[in-house]
């Protein structure tokens, strides 16, 4: 499979080994300092500063620590991790090894999305090759006292298992359900040991940053959102695919690159992200404005926004782990509300109640799934009120 992008990704121009060797020639503290200096923030969606995360794990006192690569890529509309794993697996595996060195872990686990099972042989080959080359296992590249190996584990198709604590539960053999936080995995993670969980892309950038330097990375992006980022672009555009842009790119600029001009709205951040209407296309895609783990879904003028909300809510009703009340029941009620809207039977008062319910879900749910599940509904209701109100039972607008 070939990623559809304009020219090669930066990843294609970086030697994984260079990154790893540079790291191993530094002290652990220096590696983390380099990552911190680069301003790298998590590419999995939450955007937590990677250097801070690693520092916490490095400071935790424990005999055994773990590095987990989150390759569960379940967010609707993202497929960039798949491309990275297929074409640049070595960058990711090197990134995990660097992480292990930095925090003092000897074990890495790559948690691969169940639907990506076909990537498994390819990744097992890469692991075997790296072991052979002395890039995994005892005494990596001749470094005394540093050993690190990576094991692969398969997910089974639950979206929530991408949430880091649910992922860890799943790794431990339990039902994939998010834990109470705090404590965070950096403190109490896999089998209660300090664990860093990082996205595939984050780990690949780690290797690039070690290879090319923090300054190089900081040269891209904005003050608060440094660096480059991969985007999975799909929907109503001429050239869907995986793209690399610096963070801070405006929606308009992105649409132009992918041939999506004339869009009515863009869903940024997948089902759990925000629906940005055309009037706000000047906004920046960055952690300080509209943030995303990489999913960009473009909606052309012919799309029915209510159908879109319905579709996303179907997803959350299905994928909520069912643990906590706001998410388990809230999504059902929001979807029922959309159905009422579709039939033109939802009163303004009830719609306001549902929006308040959405706020409750954002505030009171146990994990990020429930906290972000009302986002699409709320942004569609506030940006497309005219379109979604006043429908008749047949589903068409009375206006």
């Amino acid at each position: 499979m070939k990623a559809a992008h304009q020219g090669p990704l930066t990843f294609a121009k970086v030697q994984a080994d260079t990154g790893l060797k540079t790291a191993l020639n530094k002290t652990r503290a220096e590696v983390i300092a380099e990552i911190s200096a680069s301003g790298l923030k998590g590419r999995g969606g939450a955007g937590f500063p990677t250097g801070v995360k690693w520092n916490l794990a490095a400071a935790a006192r424990a005999d055994q620590k773990y590095v987990v690569c989150n390759a569960d890529e379940g967010e609707p509309g993202t497929f960039k991790d798949r491309v990275i794993l297929l074409e640049h697996a070595d960058l990711v595996l090197a990134g995990m090894t660097i992480g292990g060195y930095a925090i003092g872990a000897t074990k890495g686990i790559l948690y691969l999305r169940g639907e990506y099972a076909y990537l498994r042989p390819h990744l097992e080959d890469a692991l075997a090759r790296r072991r052979q080359q002395g890039l995994l296992g005892p005494g990596i590249t001749g470094t005394k006292g540093f050993q690190f190996d990576i094991e692969m584990r398969m997910g089974s198709g639950a979206y929530v298992c991408g949430e880091e604590t649910a992922l860890i539960e799943s790794l431990e053999g339990h039902r994939g359900e998010p834990r109470n936080r705090p404590p965070f995995p950096v403190d109490t993670g896999f089998f209660r040991q300090p664990t860093i969980v990082n996205n595939v892309e984050t780990l690949a950038w780690v290797t690039c940053i070690l290879a090319k330097g923090a300054e190089w990375f900081k040269g891209f992006g904005t003050d608060k959102s440094a660096g480059l980022k991969l985007f999975s672009v799909s929907g109503d555009c001429a050239r869907p695919g995986v793209y690399e842009f610096p963070l801070g790119i405006t929606v308009t600029a992105l649409l132009k690159e992918v041939g999506g001009e004339g869009a009515k709205a863009v869903q940024i951040g997948g089902a759990s992200g925000h629906c940005v209407p055309a009037s706000q296309f000047g906004r920046k895609i960055a952690f300080e404005d509209v943030s995303t783990g990489g999913s960009i879904i473009i909606f052309g003028p012919q799309r029915d926004m209510l159908a879109i909300a319905h579709n996303f809510l179907d997803f959350f009703v299905e994928e909520s782990c069912g643990q906590c009340t706001p998410c388990r029941m809230g999504n059902v009620k929001l979807r029922e509300g959309v159905e009422l809207l579709e039939q033109g039977k939802c009163s303004m008062a009830y719609l306001r109640e549902l929006c308040a319910l959405g706020e409750t879900m954002q505030l009171a749910s146990k994990c990020g799934l429930g906290q972000s599940s009302p986002n699409a509904f709320l942004s569609i209701v506030s940006n497309f009120k005219d379109e979604i109100m006043g429908r008749t039972a047949a589903g068409s607008s009375v206006r």
Partner: protein, 642 residues
């Protein structure tokens, strides 16, 4: 001498449902090991890692909860207890949020009130059934929350149709998942408190459901019937299998002679059903109330508790004699108690290879059942087929026990119905009786007044203490009071999960008549040390069993008391709801003070027991007659049920 041989405690509940221990921050010293928590402007210093909920309780600030339970690990799933924490974008569950640095909390801001109200409305939107037609009406935590938060309409609707069939397969526990609010207390009770692990959540999202293995009926899985899940269910989703209609029908039938036996634990707790604080026994008021209800005779289960001690104690002496003197290697030791039917089912499922260790003596309930339809029937000239034998028990497993096919040694079902404390409380209310206001009256004759030994069966360690009182006197020929003040063998008392006690036998006396036909003398016990163990809750039973398997010190014990329920019978699955460690401690106090009030406190001194061995069980303890009526056998069930 008490020791706590508890191997490292590893909870089995998924960590998603636990609050994990938090490593104290490294600047802890400067914080003085305690951190400042400011809740609604009130300040308290709490140890690092204390939850906001615990800190609020210390300040006397109420934060509502639902999935939280004092006996269980933290889940943080219902979200009813959310509060605002300064610096946090989202609301935090007070039950799960550990205070590790100075923290400011607000418990009733707009966001918090809105969230709680919504959460309660959402729970009600998925809770089928009407409060007035529910076994938990007026004792339901969801109902109380709805009241507390002023719910006066169903904001997000209310289900009109049930989604699930009610599982009535079990003799003990009825599961109505339509009323389940997914707080998962039952799951945590089963897997963490009891380490049985019958229940787990299945499916996702709105389809999530608490289920058994493969969603089988409860009667077809390894449920031990302890009913601990019932005691912790906040709603009416779990309840005991209630036979009160059948009992009323028997009372109403003039051809039936309805006999009731009451166990000590329900008597120490039934007051709670009538608004009384825990810790006051209503034994004699209850006798009057039962007669008012229409029971023909009321007996004290303690009588057969005394009998159990004699039979089980004799069995132990026989086993020890065979093993120690006759060097018979086939004798299974340590001997395990058999009076807790939850424990019996537990060992049948999980350690069937150890069934030979379980005393063959029936439980007091079943011994009484067998005597009522034989000895008593003959004495009174009543046809046993017209006797309906009812037992008031603190226990849901007793319902299963009385329905075991082997429990028909009288030629009839030895015990027809087991009633829980809650069910009898309901019958008494239905009869218009205010129990605490009843005058006192005694038990009916024939079986007379039992001893204090029977009473303490209700608390963990009680069976062991009774047995020791008896064995010490029989073997030494001296009063127990010579060794233990007030005959209270304190080392076996208490609430530690697992206890190990050694009792040295320094001197022996003559062999008393009761067991003369079994042993010629006691010399073989002189200088020996009796090693006994006590545990309660099957999680602790598991620890003891694993220790025995590994050849640890419990494998060298002579006698071990096992109780399925935390706290023993007083914490049984048929007891009034709620249950907490404090409530169980109060009930234990009631039981021990009742023991003190008895004049006869050792089973073998009970004159009626002595009489019955002369008149009826003529070949003595563990003799032929007693074997037929008072002993039983067990079924190796294993963990996998086809």
């Amino acid at each position: 001498m008490v020791s706590d041989n508890v191997p490292q405690d590893v909870g089995r509940a998924p960590r998603s449902q636990q609050r994990q221990t938090v490593a104290p921050p490294q600047n802890l010293e400067s914080l003085g090991a305690r951190v400042l928590c400011t809740i609604d402007g009130k300040e308290v210093r709490v140890p690092v890692g204390t939850t906001i909920l615990a800190a609020a309780r210390e300040l006397g600030i109420r934060i509502p909860t639902l999935c939280n339970h004092d006996d269980l690990c933290v889940a943080g799933v219902c979200r009813v207890c959310v509060v605002e924490v300064e610096g946090q974008r989202t609301l935090q569950a007070a039950c799960a949020y550990p205070v590790t640095q100075p923290t400011k909390v607000w418990t009733h801001t707009r966001k918090v009130r809105q969230a709680r109200r919504h959460i309660i409305d959402l729970l009600l939107a998925d809770h089928y059934g009407e409060c007035y037609a529910c076994s938990r009406n007026n004792n339901c935590e969801l109902q109380s929350l709805a009241k507390e938060y002023g719910v006066d309409f169903f904001r997000f609707g209310h289900p009109e149709k049930p989604r699930y069939e009610i599982d009535r397969s079990s003799h003990s526990v009825v599961r109505d998942m339509n009323k389940c609010v997914l707080c998962r207390r039952c799951i945590r009770t089963c897997i963490d408190l009891q380490e049985v692990g019958v229940l787990e959540a299945i499916h996702r999202g709105h389809d999530t459901k608490v289920a058994t293995f493969l969603d089988k009926p409860l009667a077809q899985v390894v449920c031990i019937n302890c009913g601990q899940c019932i005691n912790r269910c906040p709603t009416g989703a779990l309840r005991a299998n209630d036979p009160t209609d059948d009992v009323w029908a028997a009372i109403d039938d003039p051809t039936k002679h309805v006999v009731m036996q009451t166990a000590p634990s329900p008597r120490a707790a039934i007051g709670e059903c009538f608004g009384q604080p825990a810790g006051k026994a209503f034994t004699f008021e209850l006798n009057t109330a039962l007669r008012h209800c229409g029971f023909d005779k009321v007996f004290d289960t303690n009588f057969t508790a005394d009998l159990t001690i004699i039979e089980e104690g004799t069995e132990l002496i026989i086993r020890l004699y065979k093993a120690l003197v006759q060097k018979d290697k086939s004798v299974a030791l340590p001997q395990f108690t058999s009076c807790s039917p939850g424990w019996v089912k537990y060992i049948e499922h999980f350690y069937p290879q150890y069934l030979p260790n379980v005393s063959s003596a029936k439980s007091p309930q079943q011994m009484f059942g067998a005597l009522i339809k034989t000895y008593y029937a003959k004495l009174q000239g009543i046809d046993p087929k017209n006797i309906v034998s009812v037992a008031l028990m603190p226990c849901s497993a007793k319902k299963f026990e009385c329905n075991r096919p082997e429990m028909c040694d009288s030629g009839y079902k030895d015990v027809d119905y087991g009633l829980t404390t809650r069910e009898l409380g309901k019958m008494i209310s239905e009869a218009g009786i205010d129990l605490p206001a009843m005058p006192k009256s005694d038990f009916d004759d024939v079986f007379g007044t039992a001893t204090g030994s029977g009473v303490i069966f209700g608390a963990t360690g009680g069976v062991m203490e009774s047995a020791l009182r008896c064995v010490i006197e029989l073997v030494t020929g001296k009063k127990v009071e010579n060794f233990y003040e007030h005959a209270e063998i304190l080392p076996v008392r208490g609430f530690e999960g697992v206890r190990y006690v050694e009792i040295p036998i320094t001197a022996v006396g003559p062999v008393p008549d009761l067991v003369k036909h079994l042993v010629p003398d006691w010399n073989w016990l002189k200088g020996a040390t009796l090693k006994v163990g006590v545990c309660h809750g099957t999680a602790n039973a598991k620890k003891v069993m694993e220790d025995i398997k590994a050849g640890g010190k419990f494998s060298e014990c002579h006698f071990i008391e096992f109780m399925a329920c935390p706290g023993g019978c007083l914490g049984g699955g048929g007891q009034p709801i709620p249950t907490t460690p404090a409530i169980r401690a109060a009930r234990a106090k009631a039981i021990y003070s009742e023991d003190r009030a008895y004049t006869v406190r050792k089973s073998h001194e009970n004159p009626v027991i002595q009489h019955i061995y002369k008149e009826f069980l003529t070949d003595g303890p563990c003799g032929h007659v007693s074997h037929k009526l008072l002993h039983t056998h067990y079924t190796a069930r294993g963990k996998y049920i086809p």
